[in-house]
Each structure stands twice: as structure tokens, then as C-alpha cells.
Amino acid sequence: MSTAASSSTSETIAEPGLKIKVSTKEGEVFELDEKVAKMSQVIRGILEDLGEQNGGDDSVLPLTQVETRIFRKILVWLKYHAGHDKEEAPKAEEDEIIARFCEEIPEWDQKFLNVDQAVILEIMLAADYLDIKKLRGLCCKTVANILKTKTVEQIREMYGIENDFTPEEEEEIRKQTAWCEDEPPRQGSNH
């Protein structure tokens, strides 16, 4: 797997640089290009702490919270975006709001995240652990888009959440938010 990963990485990225070895929760070792690896702020931080001198030896960065099958998916995302994304300057608050609410999820990312919700959530957790903000944001946006299309009861049913409000509490909250329910939520989302 590691060989395949490294070979396909080198196909995507023009500049072969330092190779970074990381191991997943199950102990499987992946060899990544430096550019791909550094898209994770956690790995970037570790490399900076190590002074980027670990490329020559066989040291492996352990990613103990990331399962192999999820890391493989994340690797696909990292490779694609390492090859296609440009360096982005930090956005102002207003630009972030616009991006969060108005920008559509790119087509490639939509296809990438067109998987079971459980997998999306696991990718999101792994992206949070690896500190890959863009991927985490995409996953959050995807889940939020799903939530937008559901009623309260549908959300409870979908995630198996028990209604732990007392009838009085629920009635009070329902009155407060009744105006939000004027329009039935839109159906027919991607998920």
C-alpha cells in the first residue's frame, strides 16, 4: 500500500521532495510527499519541531487516532488538493462567512464526500485530529447541508437521538421557534 501511495503521489505532484512516513492506528505505514503531508497542520508542526531532519532516516510519525481505511480516503483528498489547490491567503471574517454560507462545495469534493454519513463523520474526526481545516470544513458543511433539510424529528430518527426534553420544555421551545417552521424543510438533498 505504501508503495502504491507513494507512486501515485509522485504522479500527482510535480516536485518530488522529502518523503514522510506515517503510520496509522493499525500500524500500516504510508510514505507521503512532503507537500501532501504538510497539508496536515499536525504533521507540519511535528516536522517543524523535528527540524525536518527525519526525512532521511526511517522514523515514522504515528497517527494513532486514524484508521487505515479512513487515512486512505484522506490521502486521496490530500493528493488531489495538493496538486490542484493554490496557496490561499488567510481570509477576512466576512470572506469566511461568505465562503461558509454562499460557496458551493466543489464538484470533486462533492463526489469525494458522496459516501455514507458514518464515513463522512469519521473523515471529519480524522481531519480534525490531523488539523486539515479545509477538509473538516467541507465535511461540516456537508453534514450541515443534510441537517438543513431535516425536521427535528427526522434528525432525531436519523441519528438515534432520544428526545430528553420534558413536554413543558419542548412546548416552550417550540413556541419560541415556531416561526422557523413556517416552511417545511426542503427535501431531496444529496443524502
Binding site: C102, L125, A144, V152, E162, W179
Partner: protein, 388 residues
Amino acid sequence: MAGRFLSGKEYKRWLMEEEAGRASEWRLRQELQDQRIAYHFRRILHLNKEMMALKEENRRLHMDRSSLLQQLQESRHSSRNVSSFVSQVHNLTNSPDTILVAILQHLHVCHLQRVSRVCQRWKKLMDEAGNNVHKSPTIELSSMAGLCPNKALDRALDIVRNQEEVAARCLTIIGHQRLFTDMQSCQMEDRPSSLSLDFAGQLPSLHSLLIVKCSLELRQLLTLPHHLQRVQLVDTLLCDASLTASVHYHPTVWLNVRIQNRVLAGWSTQLDMTRQLLLRQVLDQALLPEVRKRQDAYPRLAKKLRQFRHKKTRMQAVFHILKDRERDYCLRTSFSQEDLDAIDLQRLRPSTVAELHHLAYKIHGRPGKGKGWAVTVPYPLPLHPPSH
């Protein structure tokens, strides 16, 4: 026998006895060697058997391990396939608060209210994380179809205002496909003649207003609170829109109006005061004193401004530039001289005005804002139309 000579017969007998002794010794040695060989052979056989047994056991253990791993994988796979529902239950309900909050940040005020009804934990998260969410609340009008925009805004703002410990500093209103003027479902009496965005006294900490994908084609567009410092219009139509002059804006407050490419797409050629006011805002921006210091950013304009510095007012200079641009356009389109003379600056083509906006943006010198134009509007607004 030693000390005397043996006879022939004796010698032969002695030789025979000697040979017999040697032969028996040899046989004994042979037997002993055979026994040793047999022992080693048996030992080797025994070890071979042990080795074969160990190999067999090793192979069996390896097979057991493989089958166990396979079973484990199959069980994982099957459990994920068969009951992905169960796994997603575990994942979202057991997700850390930070993840849930990150998801909630992608929901606007109305959706947040709905989501807070799911369970106590989500409501608690909403209340706690709401500090961040409600500091920069987002109101998405598209999710409130059927409601009059003013009413929808009022209701959404009620929620923001009700966050007692939170002072909203940045408010975002997103229209998406639902424009402010798209009020087919509203009753006639509900249709506002102006969009009331006067949050004065209601959102005392509000300093930034972001309006995205809205049509503000209303006679009186915005009644902005006087303490507002920054307005950004993104993908927003501004036909016949104006800032009302009846509000006494703080003279030291500078509004930063950001306008994107589509802003002036619906610009009308009809004359009225509101359009003039908007035009004046832009013209004033183009000639702000501190902006003029950065004229190098746009040498052509700087040259033209220098040309008119001592001859005409700044406003007239800009009008001249506008006329130049209009004339260029007219020449390209074979307009007659009469047509040129008849150019009314109040009847500028949308492209010209858009270009002026772009000019203002260039002068403003804010790199990294390539999506649109940034315009700083001084207040109080000039109320009189420009003189020729």
C-alpha cells in the same frame, strides 16, 4: 611365551589366536559404532519428527490467525454494511463538542433554532457555542420563503437580540435566490416601501453588516444605524437604491461599502435623486484626500487629476474623466458630435459606472479583493446633485 622361540605349530596357533582376538575386538568396535550410529540415527529421526510436528503446529497456528483476521475483517465489514445506521449513531452522537459546534457554525439563525430542539445536549451546545455564533449571526432569507422580508428579518433579529450575554458585532443577511423584492407571496400591506435595517438601539454593538446575494431595488434602501462602521454588498443588486438622508450619521464614521461585479447590472438610466446619491458616493470615494496620496497606483487617473487640480473642482475633473470614457465609447460606436454634446452625466451607461467603481477600487489599493470593489463612503452624504 616370551624368552623362548616358538615352534612352527605354536607360532601358527599364536597367530590364529591373535587374529581371533583382533577380529573379536574389531567386531566389538564395529558393534559399538553401529550402536552409536543407530543412536544418532534414532535421535535424528526423533528430531525430524519433532520438527515436522512443530512445523505442522506453526502452520495450523498461522492458519488460525489468518482465519481469525479474516473473520475480524468480515465482522467489521458486515457490521458496517449491515448496520451503518448504528455506526453513524455512535459517530454523531458521540462526536466531540468541537465537531458539533463546527457543524452548527454552518447553520444560520433559523436553522440553529430548529436544531436546538433536537435534544438537551444540542441545545446546551447552542447556548454555549451561541456566543460565537450569535456574535456574527447569519440570516438566510431563502429558508424563510413566504415571509415578508421585513418580518423575517425582525423575527430572526429577535433571536439575536434575545442572546442577552451576546452583543452581535457582525450581521450577515443572505438572500440567495430569494430577493428582497421577490415578495409574490406577501400581502400587499406587508410589502415594505423601504427595507428597514435600522438596528439602532436593538443591536448596539453592531459594527459590520454584510449583505449577500440580495436585490435592494427599493426606493429607500437602508436605514442604517449610525454606529455602523462597515457595510459590504456582495452579489447584490442596487437599482434605485439609496441610503436615506434623514438619518444623522455620525460624521466621523466611515462606511466601507464593498460592491461586487453584479452590483450594477440592473442600473437604470432613469433620473432620480437616489441614483445621483449613489453616484456621488462613488465619486467622492475616487477623490478622497488620502486616496489621492496613492495616485501612483493608478497613474492615468493621477495624470488627469493633476491636469485639473488648479482649473476645476475635483468633482468636475472626475466628470471630465467620465466624459472622456463616454466619448471613447461613443466614437467606437460612431455617435455623432451632437450625441457627444448631449451626454448627460446622469445618464451614464452601466458599464461606465461599473468602470468608475473599478477605478475607485484600483485607487483604493486593496490587493486581494479581486472579487469586487471596495468603496469607502464618507458621511454625511452630499445631498445635492453635482454641478456641471
